[in-house]
Structures are given as structure tokens and as C-alpha cells.
């Protein structure tokens, strides 16, 4: 595969994209001008892609031949397999080479005035009234059904394949886990794989999407963001929404860590709920300005590190920014923020994953707390990326255990369970019967009364 092939491939992809897209947008919605990357860097990039393609192809040949120097004859099947792997590697390289909103090679938009506050969109000021009117006019789209508020779960992942090949597999298992929980509890899911705003990519991408969903789904009462690395581990537990009748943001955290220690991990934005209302739109608007990538996010990161306890030095992340916002504008916001820790709306995985067997022995689903965690959140594992904070093996095996721990609760209705928390294989947990409906009455979670949270001291 020579250099020319690489160029032809690049050209073919670009042509196809251009042909498909028509003309690329030349202006951004805000009125800024889009600049193409410098030519010299384009050529360098193409050369790098070609080099990587050649290397991947060479390496593939080595692997398929077993050991270097032995057996250079190939069977037809070997040739086919080799071709497939080469093709895939080449396509992967092409896909990854497509410039990314988070690509740090792109120059930050220096037209963006550091003094100008970034906004998620035009200011909306009367959302509560508008929404209420719309609901009245559209009785077929109520926001409460049988006394239960309509909830939409928002989650997602980047549009491109993961850097780590196992990452997409765990994203798949994670979304299956969410599909199961939401089917049982009548919650809608939106799985976002698009960057609505290239300024707010990465962990900030949830903000424009939450706003967009609120405004596009007036029938939804609560938007629930959940990270892709968070898994449901209590399939029975339901969020006690009536607990939050007077609140608009529900987030897991600890008040003393927040107000006394000003810790950067006082709250966790891996799983939180926003009521669909004006207050939430306002909070999102106040939250977003630290997000735009480049100098703004860098500078904001320094402010956050300086002000929040334990925070390492890195660009502004959404969690630190929210904590800082709520601390510095406490009187404005905190009245409507419920800092929840009676159950694991977010449960940090390290202290939980080794106890699943003990939990299965002593307790039962529906508790949602440390006895049977509602959500196990694999903070720092980053299966989709290349650089995790924890050992890969520990992370992947723990995620497998959490997934199977949850899956057992789903499979129970069907009479099956995993052979072990590390095993993808299942076994029957009861015999087949000619009276299947008695098990439906006993084991269908939808027919179980949710447990109430007991007041804790």
C-alpha cells in the first residue's frame, strides 16, 4: 500500500463527504468565520496517516504469519482474513483522522472574546408559562401519567470508535443495562452521539443537549443525565421523585464536603436530574461559560484548581465548574438544589464491586444504598479512551461484575442467571413450567411496590 494509495483514499473520502454534504458551512451560527487548516499541516497529517496505515498493514502481516520468517505461504482463508483486517485498520485510521472537535491541533478560536460570556443559545425567559400553556393545549402529551412524572434519561458517547477496542463493547453493555432499567420503569432514553456545539465537546457536551431536550420535549418533567460509565445495579429501586417537589436539581453529594471543605468532588455530575423549567435553563446558562475549549477552559481550570480543595491542575471540567458556581452563588441557587446521599444516585465503584456476592447473600434489590447500590459508577476507568486512572484489568473485570450483577435481576423474570459475576454465560435458576404466569406475578419487577427510603439519622 503505497503513499499514493493513502492520498487516493484520503481524497476519495473527502470527495465522498463533500459530494454528500454539498457545501460545507462557511459560517458558524454565532457569525464567526470558519478557517481551513493550513496546507502544510494538511500534508503532514496525510503523510502521518499513510505511515500509520503502512505500519498497521505490516504489523497485521506479522501477526497473521505467526512468527517472523516462518511460513510465507498463505491459504485463501488467510489472505481473506488478512485483507479484512487491513481494510478495517485502514478505515479506522481514516475515521480517526477526520478532524475532531476535541482535536487539540486546531487553533482555539481567538475571535472568541475572553470577556464575552459564552451562551448556550438565545435567552429564554418565560419557559414555565409557555410550557404550561403547551401542556394544556396538548392533553395527549401529559407530563404526568398515573401520578408519575415523565422522565427522560440522557446518555451518550462520542461519535467515533473508541481508541481502545474493548471500549465500544462496554459502551454496548452499558446501554443495554440502561435499556433494561428504563424499560422496567417506563423511562425514555436518548442516546446522544453528536456534538451539538463544538465549543462544548467532551464532558461539557451534556449541557447543550440537556437544554435542547428540555425545549424540544415539553412533555418531559425531568431530564436525567447519566454517564456512559455508570451502570444501574439496582433494577428495582426507583428515584423517589416526590422527595423533590420543591427542587429543580437533584445531584449526589455531601453538604459538608461542599460547603465546609469546598472539595472538587463534593458533588458528582455523572448522574443528576434537572426539572424541565425556567430555573434549570437559567442554571445551565450560568454553568456553561467555563466550558468553551481553548483559553477560556484553560483559564477557568486554573480558577477552579485555586478554589476547590484537592483539585488537580487541568482544564475546567463541568463538575468542578458546577461546584464552584453553586458555592459562589449559593443564595441564588442552593434553595432549589437537592444534594442527595440517602441512596447511590452515583455510587463510586471501588468500594462496591467486591461486595456484590455479600450483597446477594444478605440483602435484596430495591434498597438503592450501600446494601444494594442503585448505580455503580466507574469513575476514572475510561474504557473508551487510552489513559485511565485505574488498572485496566481491575476496571474491566469490575465492570463485567457490575453488569452481570444487574443482569441477574433482569434475567430472574425469565428464569435465568449468570454462572458467576465474571461469566457471560447463563444457567437456569428454575425449571421450565406449563404455568409461566405464576412466575410473572412473582418476579416481574413492574409489579413490585417500590420501597420507600427510610429516614436516616
Amino acid at each position: 500500500m503505497g503513499k499514493e494509495d493513502g492520498f487516493r483514499t484520503q481524497k476519495r473520502v473527502s470527495t465522498a463527504s463533500s459530494a454528500a454534504a454539498g457545501v460545507l458551512p462557511t459560517t458558524m451560527a454565532s457569525g464567526g468565520v470558519r478557517r481551513p487548516p493550513p496546507r502544510g499541516r494538511q500534508i503532514q497529517k496525510t503523510f502521518n496517516n499513510v505511515k500509520m496505515t503502512i505500519l498497521c498493514g505490516f504489523v497485521t502481516i506479522l501477526v497473521l504469519r505467526g512468527t517472523i520468517g516462518i511460513n510465507f505461504g498463505t491459504s485463501d482463508a488467510d489472505v481473506v482474513n488478512q485483507n479484512i483486517i487491513e481494510e478495517t485498520n485502514r478505515l479506522l485510521a481514516e475515521i480517526r483522522s477526520d478532524s475532531d472537535p476535541t482535536d487539540s491541533n486546531e487553533p482555539p478560536d481567538s475571535d472568541l472574546d475572553l470577556n464575552m460570556t459564552y451562551t448556550l443559545g438565545p435567552k429564554i425567559t418565560n419557559w414555565d408559562q409557555k410550557r404550561k400553556l403547551w401542556l394544556t393545549q396538548n392533553p395527549d402529551f401529559p407530563s404526568f401519567i398515573n401520578g408519575k412524572a415523565k422522565v427522560l434519561l440522557l446518555t451518550g458517547s462520542p461519535p467515533k470508535p473508541c481508541d481502545n477496542p474493548i471500549g465500544d463493547h462496554y459502551l454496548l453493555k452499558s446501554v443495554k443495562n440502561k435499556i433494561d432499567y428504563c424499560r422496567i420503569h417506563g423511562i425514555e432514553i436518548v442516546y446522544n452521539m453528536a456534538h451539538l456545539d463544538k465549543e462544548l465537546a467532551g464532558y461539557w457536551a451534556k449541557l447543550p443537549m440537556i437544554r435542547r431536550l428540555m425545549l424540544s420535549h415539553p412533555e418531559i418533567e425531568w431530564i436525567w443525565w447519566m454517564d456512559s460509565d455508570a451502570l444501574f445495579t439496582d433494577m428495582v429501586f426507583e428515584i423517589p421523585l416526590s422527595r423533590y417537589d420543591y427542587h429543580n436539581l437533584v445531584i449526589h453529594g455531601y453538604p459538608d464536603l461542599l460547603f465546609d471543605q469546598k472539595s472538587w468532588i463534593a458533588l458528582n455530575t455523572g448522574s443528576f436530574l434537572f426539572r424541565n423549567c425556567q430555573w434549570s435553563l437559567d442554571l445551565l446558562d450560568a454553568w456553561a461559560p467555563m466550558g468553551p475549549k481553548g483559553p477560556i477552559r484553560e483559564e477557568a481550570g486554573k480558577i477552579l484548581t485555586a478554589n476547590l480543595k484537592g483539585r488537580p491542575a487541568f482544564e475546567a471540567d463541568d463538575q468542578s465548574a458546577l461546584i464552584y458556581l453553586l458555592l459562589s452563588q449559593k443564595e441564588t441557587w442552593m434553595e432549589k438544589v437537592f444534594v442527595e446521599n440517602q441512596y447511590y444516585l452515583h455510587g463510586f465503584w471501588e468500594g462496591l464491586v467486591d461486595k456484590y456476592e455479600e450483597m446477594m447473600e444478605k440483602y435484596h434489590p430495591g434498597l438503592g444504598d450501600e446494601r444494594w447500590p442503585f448505580i455503580t459508577h466507574f469513575v476514572g476507568c475510561k474504557p473508551c479512551g487510552s489513559y485511565a486512572d485505574y488498572a485496566v484489568e481491575r476496571c474491566l473485570k469490575s465492570m463485567e461484575r457490575a453488569f452481570n450483577f444487574a443482569d441477574n435481576q433482569v434475567l430472574k423474570l425469565y428464569g435465568f442467571g449468570h454462572r458467576g459475576l465474571l461469566s457471560p454465560k447463563i444457567k437456569r435458576i428454575r425449571n421450565e413450567t406449563t404455568f409461566p404466569l405464576k412466575f410473572v406475578d412473582r418476579f416481574d419487577i413492574r409489579r413490585t411496590t417500590p420501597l420507600k427510603i427510610e429516614a436516616r439519622s
Copy 2:
């Protein structure tokens, strides 16, 4: 990583699994005895795993160093990255080495009497009455809501990571595509990643799962099976269920191909619907016997090849078996089978994917047929496996196009669209507004009246 490491790893995984699982089942539900694999083959298998691990590690080193012989010094980041990739490869090899129900190295169960008909479970004979009674007793779980039958979409994929790294990424996109359609149309999803019956693995795995779901979800009126390589490409179109008031199986196909030509592709089991009733349970029971892997499936394959036009020689697949069953027991079954081709309940991808731009220019969603296909089905692409029937590049790019073609219809409500059918990136298709609800009224698909199918000559 020496041989000893590989052995230790194998041992550690096995110990962990055993500890987690307790005692492995020693009997199968049917009363047969489980035999462990021969010791010699176990050692050989372990040795092969170790060899592959060493090779993967070596190859990884080569790739990371760029070219052989240059720059053997490494930075800390290189070392960390290298470790992560090595770990992942090792874990992947471990996961894949775990014996698979479809593992052809396992001897077929010779206890299974070739004359004894395989069954999916104990015979259920009065499901219609039982189900009707249950529905009467459980008015909170109706099978029709506002005149609309409750539908459950069943799909899935094998429990292990794909052989081809890109495969899991496309499975993820495929399930997102299904989540979108089902959210818009109020359909429940079950994503199956378990083999309920190790005899019926592979494409046969859907049969026991369909049966299990019927019996466990009496409130569901229709179970809709859809392959993981089939994508929704018309987000507006709805299956006209009232068309099938007198039928129990709806499947895409062509009567002349079926009855006149007895073609093995006369029907397509990539997307079909079963009514939740006794008739369906009976059909599943009649369908299953060709499925058990090993000699039964092999022999059945020969019968199917001999009797169905154009069928290549391979083991019995579910589609050929169903066609054969319906042909040979026509009077028993066909009265309740609706062979549908007025819209693309299954749309073979090759003739469709190049026309999406033309469709966008001339037509609109909601038609479901060749003008705007309901479902585009990537038969033969097999992104999860190693051996596809079509060129990898053609397949992956076509799937990307189909995905984005569908995603555009979902994003329209939010004011976005893909830059091109090959691009994961999106752009605004209308300006932001302070009156978002007018777009909700115009663009929310749920508020669009489904088009009726016009009678065709």
C-alpha cells in the same frame, strides 16, 4: 510476558470465576451429564493462548516504536500506553478463550437422539385462554393502549466482544438507531446478550428468547425480532398492525419466490413479528427441531440445500428452516402467515444505500418502501465477525450512510443534521429561537399522522 505469566493469568481467571460462581452446574436441565474437555486439549489450548498473548505483546511493541530498530528509548507516556494496550489484548484473549456455546471444538452432544424431536420447553396448550384471563385480572397491564397494540422489539448480539474491533462500534450505533425509533413509537426494547439454550446458539438463539418473552410478558401483543445488522431508515413509518388482524406472523418475502420457486431467500427472518398467542408457540415448537447444533443441524442443512432453490451447502439456518416448514406444512400454517412486501419490513441494503441522497431530494419519511425504505438490512456484512460476504469498506461506509440518513430524521426536531451521510459531525439546519415550541409542533414525529399504505397493483 513469559509462559508462566500466561499460565498464572489463566489460573487466576478460572479461580475467580469458580469462586464467584460457586459450583458449576453438573447436570443440564434436560437431565444429561456435562463432560469436561479432555486434559490434553486443555493444555494445547492454554499453550495456544500464551503464544497468541506473546505475539500480541510483541506486535504491540513494534507498532509503538514506529519502525523496527529505531528509537528504543521510551517516554513514561509511551510506557503507560503500551501497558494499557498489552493489558487489553491479554484480556481480550482471555475473554475469547472462554469456551463458547458455538465453539466447534466442543463435541456435539451425542446423547441427543437424532430421532428425538428437540423441544423449546414443556408443551403449553392453552396459552390464549390463560393470557386472556391474566389480562382481565391485570387491567393495569393492558395489551392495547389507545387502540394501539403493545409491541416489544427484540434484538441482540453475542455476549463477547466482536472479533473485528469495529463490530462493537456498529452494534452500538445500531442499538442507538433502534432506541430512537422505539422511543418515538412507544415500543419496548429487549436487547439480548445471553444464550438461553446452548443448543440453539447463533442465528437460532432468537427462538427460545421469543418464546420466553411471550410467556413472561403477557401484556405484549406482538414480539418483533430484528437483527442487529438491520437499521431503521424511516423514522416516521409505522407498521400497519390492523392489516394483520387475522394473522399471527408477519414476515417480509415474495409469494412467488416462496411457492413457485421454493427459494431459500423467499422470506427474510431478519425482521418479523409474532403475535403473542398459542399459534405462535406452536410454530416455534415446529420450527426449532432443525436448530440443535451438531449432527442435527448438519443433517438438516443437507435437507434444506436439497429442497430449496439456490441454497448453498451449510448447516441449517433459521430462515431456510422456516421456509421449508411453511412449504411442507402449508395447510397448517400459511393461513395465518402474512407475507409482506408492500413496504420494507426488511430492505436489502445493496440496492438502497446509494440512493439516499436521491430519496432526500425527491421524497420524504413515512413511505417505508423503495422511495424511503423502512428498514435497511445489511445482510452479509457481518461487522462483528471476521468473514463477511461483502467488501468491508463497502459495508462499513454503507452502514455509516444508513445510520446518518436515519439520524438526520431524529435530529431534525433538535435543529441539526449531519454534514454529509458519511460524516459523524452535525451542523445546524435552522437558527436557534426564543420560540422553540413552534418547532416541536412542526417536527416532533409523534405528532405526525402516520401515512397509510396505498393499495398497490
